[in-house]
Symmetry: C2
Subunit: 511 residues, 2 copies
C-alpha cells in the first residue's frame, strides 16, 4: 500500500481554513449523535516517528466535547501490563457505548516496533496478527466504529524533522536512539509497516493512509476520514432502527410460516445432537473416609503447586459453571482452602452493572484476568452469553452464535500468554437439584442461598440442557478444555475438581 502513496500532496492556507471551519463543526455534531445513538468509536493513530500523530490528535480533540473522549498514549508496557495477556491493556481501554477512545500508538506496536526490536519473535507473528484481527472483529461486531489512520512520511522528511527537534534544546529529548535507528533502517521498518497494513486492512476495520508531509493536508484528511466513518455508522444504526420499527409494525414475525419451519428444523437438529451431559455417570461417589484422605493429600499438593506457579509466573484461569445448587461454591471452597489468599481471587459473576452493560460483554472478564503467577477463579463466567443471555433473550441470536468463536479466541489469547485455562461444568440431575433446593429452604443458615429466580430457572431445565450441550461441544478446546464434573455426590465432585486442577498445573510445569 505504501509505495503508491503520493507524499507530495499539499494544501494552501486559504483552502485549509475554509475547509476546517466546516469540518470542526461537523465533528462536534457527529460526536453528539454517536453519544445519543450509543455508538462507541475507536480511533487508532499509527505511522512513522515524527509524522505528527500527537499534533493531529491534539487538533482533533479541540473540536470534541471533552466529556466524550479519552486519549490513550501507548508506550512501553508497564510491569503490570507485562504480567498480563497482551490484549489485556487494550481490552480494558475499549470505550463505553457513545464514547470515543483515541489511541496514540496501539496494539499494532506488537507487530511494528516490537517486531523491529525483536521483542516479538517471527514465529509469534501469525498468532499476533490473528489475535489483532479477532479483537477488532469482535469490537466491530459489537457496534464499534474502528478508524485506523496511518501517518506516512518518507525517510528524508523524517530525518529533517528529527534534526529540527534535536537542534532545539527544549525538544531534543523527544528524539530517542530508537527513532534514529528506525530512520537509518527506514526501508526495513517500512517493509514491516507494509506487511502489517496488508494483513490487517479488513472490511470491519480498514486502514486509511494519511499523507503527512504537509500538515494542513494531513489534518483535513484526518478530519474527513473520521467524519466519513462516523457518519456511515450513524446512518447504518438509524436504518437498522427504522427496519426494526417497520418489522414490528408488520407483525411480530413470530407466527409466520417460515419461522414455523425454522423452529421445526431446530427441534429436529436438537434430537440429532450429541448430548454430552447425558453421558455423565452421576452414580460416582466417594465414602467420607476416601474423601477426607484424598482431600487432605490434594489440598497439600495444591498449596505446594500454588507457590510453584507463583515462582514460575504461570497464570491460571478457572471457570465454574453448572446447574443452580450444582456445588460450585463448595468445590471452590475446597480448592482454595489451603491456598495463599494473596495469590488467588474468586470473581463472582452477577448480572452486569451499568458500566459493564455499556461495554462489550467480554470487557469485564478481561479486566479480571490474572497477572502472571496468580490464579483467577470465576464463579459463573463469560459463558453466560450462550446460556442465560441466550435463553432469556438478553442478546440476539446473532450475538450468542458469534460468541462461541469470540470466547474461543479469548481463551486462546490467554493460553498464548502462558495461562492454564480449565472450565468446569458442575453437573447434577433434576431430582438432586430439587432435593438441594428444598434442603436450602428448610435450613435457616442456607435460606439466603435460594431465590425465586432459582425456581424459575429450574422450569427451563430443557432449554438450558440444549444450550449447555452446544456450548460444551463448541468451546471445549485443547488449550481450554471443559470438564464435566459428576456432581450428585459432593465428595466426588470436589475431589474431581481438585484433581483436575492439580493435574493441569503439573502438566504445564512439566512442559
Amino acid at each position: 500500500m505504501l509505495e503508491k502513496v503520493d507524499l507530495t500532496k499539499r494544501m494552501e492556507k486559504d483552502e485549509y481554513k475554509e475547509k476546517m471551519e466546516m469540518l470542526e463543526v461537523r465533528i462536534g455534531q457527529l460526536q453528539r449523535q454517536c453519544k445519543e445513538l450509543k455508538i462507541p468509536v475507536i480511533l487508532v493513530f499509527e505511522g512513522f516517528g515524527a509524522s505528527g500523530k500527537g499534533l493531529q490528535i491534539g487538533h482533533l480533540i479541540q473540536s470534541m466535547d471533552p466529556r466524550g473522549f479519552q486519549v490513550y498514549p501507548i508506550k512501553n508496557e508497564t510491569e503490570e501490563e507485562r504480567m498480563h495477556p497482551f490484549l489485556w491493556r487494550f481490552w480494558t481501554k475499549t470505550p463505553e457505548r457513545g464514547r470515543i477512545a483515541i489511541f496514540d500508538g496501539s496494539w499494532y506496536r506488537r507487530v511494528l516496533i516490537d517486531r523491529f526490536e525483536k521483542r516479538t519473535k517471527n514465529k509469534d507473528l501469525p498468532a499476533a496478527f490473528h489475535s489483532i484481527c479477532a479483537f477488532e472483529e469482535q469490537l466491530a461486531a459489537d457496534g464499534n466504529v474502528i478508524i485506523k489512520l496511518f501517518l506516512d512520511i518518507d525517510k528524508k522528511e523524517q530525518k529533517r524533522r528529527f534534526d529540527k527537534l534535536a537542534k532545539n534544546k527544549e525538544t531534543a529529548w523527544r528524539v530517542t536512539q530508537g527513532d534514529l535507528e528506525r530512520n537509518a533502517r527506514y526501508a526495513e521498518y517500512a517493509a514491516m509497516m507494509e506487511d502489517m497494513l496488508f494483513k490487517t486492512d479488513t472490511e470491519y476495520a480498514p486502514w486509511t493512509i494519511i499523507e503527512a508531509t504537509d500538515r494542513r493536508f494531513a489534518t483535513v484528511k484526518v478530519y474527513t476520514t473520521v467524519i466519513k466513518a462516523m457518519a456511515d455508522q450513524i446512518e447504518k444504526v438509524q436504518r437498522q432502527k427504522l427496519e426494526e420499527h417497520a418489522a414490528k409494525e408488520a407483525g411480530t414475525g413470530e407466527n409466520t410460516e417460515a419461522s414455523e419451519v425454522a423452529r421445526e428444523a431446530d427441534q429436529n437438529m436438537r434430537k440429532m445432537q450429541v448430548s454430552i451431559l447425558s453421558k455423565a455417570d452421576l452414580s460416582l461417589k466417594y465414602t467420607r473416609e476416601e474423601y477426607r484422605e484424598r482431600l487432605k493429600k490434594l489440598q497439600k499438593k495444591m498449596e505446594k503447586l500454588h507457590g510453584e506457579l507463583y515462582r514460575r509466573r504461570i497464570p491460571v484461569v478457572l471457570g465454574f459453571e453448572g446447574w443452580d445448587a450444582g456445588g460450585k461454591g463448595g468445590a471452590i471452597k475446597r480448592l482454595t482452602e489451603k491456598m495463599d489468599p494473596r495469590g488467588y481471587v474468586v470473581n463472582p459473576t452477577a448480572s452486569p452493572n451499568d458500566i459493564e452493560k455499556a461495554h462489550h460483554y467480554l470487557w469485564r472478564f478481561w479486566r479480571a484476568m490474572p497477572k502472571d503467577g496468580h490464579v483467577a477463579i470465576f464463579d459463573r463466567t463469560w459463558y453466560g452469553r450462550v446460556m442465560v443471555e441466550r435463553i432469556e433473550g438478553f442478546c440476539t441470536k446473532g450475538e450468542w452464535q458469534r460468541a462461541y468463536k469470540e470466547i474461543n479466541d479469548m481463551e486462546k489469547d490467554l493460553y498464548d500468554a502462558g495461562a492454564v485455562v480449565v472450565k468446569f461444568w458442575m453437573h447434577i440431575d433434576k431430582d438432586e437439584q430439587k432435593r438441594r433446593f428444598t434442603e436450602r429452604q428448610e435450613n435457616p443458615e442456607k435460606r439466603w442461598k435460594i431465590t425465586d429466580e432459582d425456581w424459575r430457572n429450574r422450569e427451563k431445565w430443557d432449554l438450558y440442557e440444549d444450550a449447555v450441550n452446544e456450548m460444551l461441544l463448541r468451546t471445549s478446546t485443547d488449550y481450554a478444555p471443559w470438564v464435566v464434573v459428576e456432581g450428585n455426590d459432593k465428595y466426588y465432585a470436589r475431589i474431581k475438581v481438585l484433581e483436575t486442577v492439580v493435574n493441569a498445573i503439573e502438566d504445564r510445569i512439566k512442559k
Copy 2:
C-alpha cells in the same frame, strides 16, 4: 502498647473447634447483614513478618461469601503507583458500600517498612501520620467500619519461623534478606511499630493487637474482633434508621420553633459574611488585539512548560468551577490548545454513576489524579459536594460541613506528592449569564449546551452565591489556592487562566 502484650497465650484444640464452629457461621451472617445495610468494611492486617497474616486472611475468607470481599496484598509500589500520590493506590481500593476490602499490609507500610529502610525520611513522618489519620477519619465518617489488626510475635518466635521456612526448599524463597535484617534489628523495628500504634490508634479506627504465637488463639481473636466491629456498626446503623423513622413520625421538624431560630441565625450570619465574589471587578477586559497577542505568547509558553513538566515529573491538578455559561469550556480549550494530548486529560464531572455513588464521594476524583509529569484538568470538581450536593440536599449538613476539611486534606496530599494545584472560579454576573443562555438557545450549533436544568439552577443564584463564598473562604490555601476569574469578558478570563497556570508552573519549577 506492645510491651504489655502476653505472647504466651494459647488455646487447646477442643476449645478452638467449639468456638470456631459458631464464629464461622456468625461471620457469614454479619457479612450478609452488612451487604443489606450497605455498610463498607475495611480490614487491615499488619504485624511482624511470619506472624501469620496470610494464613489468618486465608482462614477468614473461607467463612465469607466470595461475592462480597476482595483481598489486596500490598507490596512494593509498582512504577504506576510510584508516580501517583501515596494514598492513590489505597483510595482506589476502598470498598463499595456493602463490600469488604481486606488489606494484607497497607498504607502503614510508609511508616513501618519504608521508614525502617529509610525510604520514608524522618522529616516526612508527621505528614505521613497526618495523612493516614485523615484518610481513615474520612472513610469512617462515610460509614466504613475500619478494623485494624496487628499480629504480634517476639524476636525468638520470628527467628524460629524464618528458620523453618528457610530449611524447606519449597518455602525458602519466602524469607527475604529484608526479613532477616528486621529480625536481627527486632527491637529497633518494634519501636517503630510501637510509635505507629501510638499515633494511629483512634476512636474511629482503633488497633487490636493479636497475640500470634499460638495460631489457634490468634484465629479466634481475629474472628472475634472482626465480628464485634461489624456487629457494633450494624447495630449503630439500625438504631439510626429507627431514629430517623421516629423523627419522621413525630413530624418533619421543619416548623419547630428551634429550627426557626436556627434559620434566622443563619440568615444573620449570611449578612455578616465576607463576600469574596462581590469584590471581583467584572469590567476588566481586553481588546481583540490584546487578546490575540497575549494568547499566542502564553500558549507558546504553556507548550514549552508542558514539556518541562514532563521531564521534571511534576504533576499538575487544575480544577474549574463557575457559574453555568461562565466560560469554563472556552478557557480549558485555550489552555490546552497547544498542549501535547499525550500529557493531559480533561475530566468532565457529571453526576456520579452507580459505582461512583457506592463509594466515598472523593473516590472517583482520586482515581483520576494525574501521574507525575501529567496534567489533570477537572471540568467541575469535588467541590460539587459543597455546592450542588449541599443546595439540592444530596448530602446531609454534617456531610458537606465536614467536606471542607476533607477536601483540604486531599489537596494537601496532592501538594505533598509534588503537585501544582490550582482551582478556578469562573465568575460572571447574573445579567451576563442571561445573555449567554439566550444566545445559546438561539444558536442551533450551541443549543445542545443549554438545558432546563441550567435555567432551574439560575433561580437558585443566591443560594449558590452563599455556598461559593463559604467554599472560597474555607478552601483557599497556600498549597491549593482559589483564583476568582473575572469572566464577563471572555478574552480577559481566558488570558487570566492561562497566565495563572503559567505562573504557578514557573514558580514550582524555580523552587
